[in-house]
């Protein structure tokens, strides 16, 4: 059999008036596994989706399924950003609602979801066990989908793809939200799949790759350009340091020296204890790194600070000098906190445009419901320039590259010049260059008396300003230390 697995010729794709792919030709031959890397916004994800038949294109996209192969005759695309589409009634949810307990199971459990998948794809449940174990999913079978953390969602998506073993598997940013150990395990699985005959296409700029990858390419001016190795891929042009808008250099009016004070925090869901006696004090101006494995309790801990968790009322928490539950509203709290999290991005208004999204930051609302004053408009314009987003201000956020989408969310959350910034895995799904850019902006913004809590996985990819670190493990504090004492 000599047909190529994929034959693409003269492929064209436009988003509105922007040409993304221009007469692109590509051939994937038997035995090849490809890596597509290069600059953000160059069209990597668009090409991946086009290959999976998910984009409106002109030209030839031919996938030659091998009828003799024992593998399912399928092309599967795993997107870089987890979109939740199969959840009944999800349109009526907002993400903080997952913290509210209600005796009504509105969403599927992980196990029900996987069982349904096994049923529709004719898969054997016994083949699933090793993936569940290696991704530490065995304990999560009875968990409702809405209760999973973002990292767990990504793993669930990977589990399904690995389990299916489609003849052609395209994975966009496969390492999103995975720690180092998980990434190595994943590479092992990719190699297993490749030796079983799966053709892989990975979209990433990561350098720790499965050994089966034997072709490298990037997209230049809408055309595919093959290169020799990962190191030959083009990188994003680095950001030139800019003057910070003056309104952000005003030190926030502080009401207290201690921003967050938590004593013996305990959170339990039924039998499951998620936080087991956490003590933590964040002083004004400190820059904290918060780390821990997926499911260690980081997001729950932060939700207690941001006013999203009902159990905050049953714990000893002081925020900005006031005891939680002493008559403040959650809007009083949110006014002082700038927050980004994978969930916020995930549930963000899909119809929002860049300018409106940033403006909504003045009111901490998802969607803009009020008029913006002239002075506020000026601040928005200054921030657009600072973030190099002026040209994109009228675009739908969802049409921007992921890195720029996160910068929009950072601009949205910083617009009110909050004293405390909480950035929960703000670089999840971003490649190295995008992450470096994002962290550089965070460093620039975090002078001037701001307090920072930053959640991130990889210690080589963090803002420079971080000083202290807390590591959670299974709901307990494992380490609290000064960052300067760390040997990288």
């Amino acid at each position: 059999m000599t047909d190529p697995v994929v034959h693409i010729a003269q492929l064209n794709l436009q988003y509105a008036h922007d040409v993304i792919l221009d007469q692109l030709d590509w051939q994937i031959n038997r035995g090849e596994c490809w890596l597509i890397g290069g600059r953000s916004g160059s069209g990597k994800s668009a090409l991946a989706k086009a290959l999976a038949g998910l984009e409106k294109t002109s030209g030839t996209v031919q996938v030659n399924i091998d009828p003799q192969s024992p593998l399912p005759p399928r092309v599967l695309y795993v997107s870089n950003w987890y979109q939740f589409t199969n959840l009944e009634g999800d349109r009526n949810f907002y993400y903080q609602q997952r913290y509210n307990k209600q005796q009504k199971n509105d969403t599927l459990t992980v196990y029900a979801e996987l069982a349904a998948y096994a049923n529709s794809e004719n898969l054997l449940l016994e083949d699933l066990a090793k993936y569940l174990v290696l991704f530490e999913f065995a304990d999560l079978k009875a968990t409702q989908l809405i209760e999973l953390s973002s990292g767990e969602h990504k793993k669930l998506q990977l589990i399904k793809a690995l389990w299916l073993k489609p003849q052609l598997l395209i994975v966009d940013e496969p390492y999103t939200g995975l720690d180092k150990a998980s990434r190595q395990k994943l590479n092992g699985f990719f190699d297993e799949l490749a030796s079983a005959g799966v053709h892989l296409v990975l979209i990433t700029n990561e350098t720790d790759l499965p050994s089966c990858i034997n072709r490298f390419a990037e997209i230049e001016k809408g055309k595919l350009k093959q290169v020799d190795s990962v190191s030959a891929l083009s990188m994003d042009i680095s950001r030139s340091r800019k003057v910070i808008p003056p309104f952000l250099t005003e030190a926030p009016a502080l009401s207290a020296d201690i921003m967050v004070e938590m004593e013996n925090i305990r959170i339990r869901y039924g039998e499951k204890e998620v936080l087991k006696g956490i003590d933590w004090t964040v002083r004004s101006g400190e820059k904290w790194l918060l780390q821990g494995h997926n499911g260690s309790g980081k997001s729950t801990l932060l939700s207690l600070i941001t006013g999203d968790h009902p159990q905050a009322y049953a714990n000893h928490i002081r925020l900005f000098g006031h005891r939680r539950g002493s008559g403040e509203s959650i809007w009083d709290i949110k006014e002082r906190i700038g927050i980004i999290s994978p969930e916020l991005h995930w549930y963000f208004d899909k119809t929002a445009r860049v300018w409106q999204a940033i403006a909504s930051g003045f009111y901490d609302s998802i969607g803009l419901f009020r008029q913006v004053s002239y002075e506020q408009q000026q601040k928005i314009d200054q921030l657009l320039a600072f973030f190099e987003l002026t040209e994109d201000k009228d675009r739908l956020i969802t049409t921007l590259p992921l890195g720029k989408q996160r910068l929009v969310l950072l601009a949205r959350t910083i617009i009110k010049n909050p004293p405390l910034l909480i950035l929960d895995e703000p670089c999840q799904g971003l490649d190295r260059a995008q992450t470096a850019l994002f962290n550089a902006v965070v460093d620039e913004l975090c002078g001037f008396g701001k307090t920072l809590i930053y959640v991130g996985h990889y210690e080589t990819q963090l803002p420079n300003c971080l000083e202290k670190k807390m590591v959670l493990e299974k709901g307990e504090v494992q380490v609290i230390e000064e960052m300067s004492e760390l040997a990288y």
């Binding site: 307990k101 209600q102 006013g307 119809t351 901490d364």
Partner: protein, 493 residues
């Protein structure tokens, strides 16, 4: 107990029915201060009870839950809802005497017995709050004269009340003070503060009365909202399968179609919904809806008359007393319909296809919204009240059908709505039997435009557009929707 409305002289009936003042956001400048530091005790912890309580607490108010002793001892769902979210929970005897405001958020059916138990325990001069006025107006419950009686009625299911609050918004809300129970004159200030606590002030607030709320709410829910959507879903599905359309496709077109179609209604009224059709389809839908309005008008009038006279509530309460015999029997019958039993097929239906393949459904929804609105206004209800109870709520009910069909709709809505829904459905189907014989798959099931010349006569199109756009529900709708500008768009299925 006598029906409160029927004890009033005509002049006072008209006076109370006519309370409808759309409030400006500046009237809520005092925020929650009228309730700050006061003890709010919510009775009942179902969907409305829990979600309103979560919002009120997150707005800085002191909230606890009073539950019946058995509910606490047996650790029922209401007890779990409250304790899992770390609210203080106690019996009526423990908590009601401490309350400055008691919010009764139990199901309508239990109101009389709940009030009988709670009222003697309430402290002198406290406030009693409702989210629906049935108990006061239809059952004629008399409340102790020192107690202030108010209403704050979010016009959305409980989960939505919470979700919109967390997004930094709210849901449109009706507030009212019962004129027989406002001894200190504090009712309006407390109703406004409660409304701010649940986030309603950001999405538009209508100052109403107990009477206007009840008479319009009952009318809306049993005709356009639940009754008409149920009948329309069943008739559309049956017609399609009768004419050979694949049942899975038919089930999906109906189940998700009502949601997609009414999403246009939500964002831009009947005008926007009709504008999604091609010109020829729009003219066809207009003609069909005019015909449907002529056939169904007497039925809408009968429902409104029975609501105004108290006949509806009296017969329904007789069924309550009879162990819900009728209700349970009708509920079971709905579960047995072919539409309910056919799962939605695994076919892709594009967003526009839901309009082009369901011209009948568009026409039918237009007819129902306009009829409900017109009938209410003719009966003395103000256009603002009529708008909320017809057009505004239709997409919300359609969402429940998209989730789990009629079963889910009837589970989510109140018992009162469910009872009225079946009454309407049972009368409407025979009424439309003759008309349905003339319906073919061009207006339900297949693309109306297919194989047709899309040209239209200018004059007929102008006349049809004029008639759609100048309908009074469109005029009042344009004003009220401006207050709810940022309604989130639902995802297309």
């Amino acid at each position: 107990m006598a029906n409160y409305f029927n004890t009033l002289p005509l002049r006072e009936q008209l006076n109370q029915l006519g309370v409808a003042e759309f409030m400006d956001i500046s009237e809520f400048a005092d925020g929650v201060s009228a309730l700050k530091g006061k003890k709010i005790v919510i009775v009942g912890c179902g969907a409305q009870g829990l979600n309103q309580g979560l919002n009120l607490r997150d707005s800085g108010l002191d909230v606890s839950y009073a539950l019946r002793k058995e509910a606490i001892e047996q650790k029922r769902d209401s007890w779990k809802n409250a304790t899992d979210n770390h609210f203080k929970v106690g019996t009526y005897e423990e908590l009601i005497p401490t309350a400055d405001l008691v919010s009764n958020l139990t199901p309508d059916k239990q109101h009389s017995s709940v009030i009988d138990a709670v009222m003697p325990l309430m402290k002198e001069g406290a406030t009693l709050s409702y989210s629906h006025g049935f108990n006061i107006v239809e059952e004629g419950k008399q409340i102790r004269k020192d107690i202030t009686v108010i209403m704050t009625a979010p016009k959305c299911p409980g989960s939505e009340v919470r979700a919109e609050y967390l997004r930094g918004f709210g849901v449109p809300t009706l507030i009212a003070v019962h004129p027989e129970n406002d001894p200190q004159g504090k009712g309006l200030a407390e109703a406004k503060a409660y409304c701010v606590g649940t986030g309603g002030h950001k999405a538009g607030v209508l100052r109403s009365s107990f009477v206007a709320e009840v008479k319009s709410d009952l009318m809306g829910e049993q005709t356009i909202l639940c009754g008409l959507l149920q009948t329309g879903s069943i008739l559309s599905f049956d017609k399609m399968t009768e004419k050979g359309i694949e049942p899975g496709y038919a089930a999906k077109l109906v189940q998700y179609g009502v949601e997609v179609i009414t999403e246009a209604l939500k964002q831009g009224g009947i005008t926007a919904m009709m504008d999604r059709l091609s010109n020829i389809a729009k003219i066809k839908a207009f003609e069909v809806s005019e015909e449907l309005k002529t056939i169904m008008r007497p039925l809408f009038q009968k429902h409104q008359d029975d609501i105004m006279s108290g006949h509806f509530s009296r017969t329904m309460m007789e069924d309550w007393a009879n162990g819900d015999k009728n209700l349970l029997q009708w509920r079971a019958a709905t579960g047995e319909t072919a539409f309910e039993k056919t799962p939605a097929g695994d076919v892709k239906i594009g967003e526009q296809e839901y309009f082009d393949h369901a011209v009948f459904m568009v026409a039918y929804i237009k007819a129902g919204v306009e009829l409900a609105f017109e009938t209410m206004v003719e009966a003395g209800i103000k256009p603002e009240s009529a708008y909320y109870e017809s057009l505004h709520e239709t997409p919300l009910i359609a969402n429940t059908i998209a989730r789990k069909k009629l079963f889910e709709m009837n589970r989510v809505i109140s018992d009162t709505a469910e009872y009225g829904c079946y009454l309407f459905d049972h009368a409407c189907k025979p009424l439309l039997a003759g008309f349905m014989k003339t319906v073919d798959t061009d207006i339900i099931g297949r693309d109306f435009n297919e194989g047709k010349d899309l040209a239209v006569d200018n004059q007929s199109l102008i006349a049809v557009n004029e008639a759609i756009r100048t309908h009074p529900v469109e005029k009042v709708g344009a004003v009220l929707r401006r207050a709810m500008t940022a309604m989130k768009a639902i995802k297309t299925v």
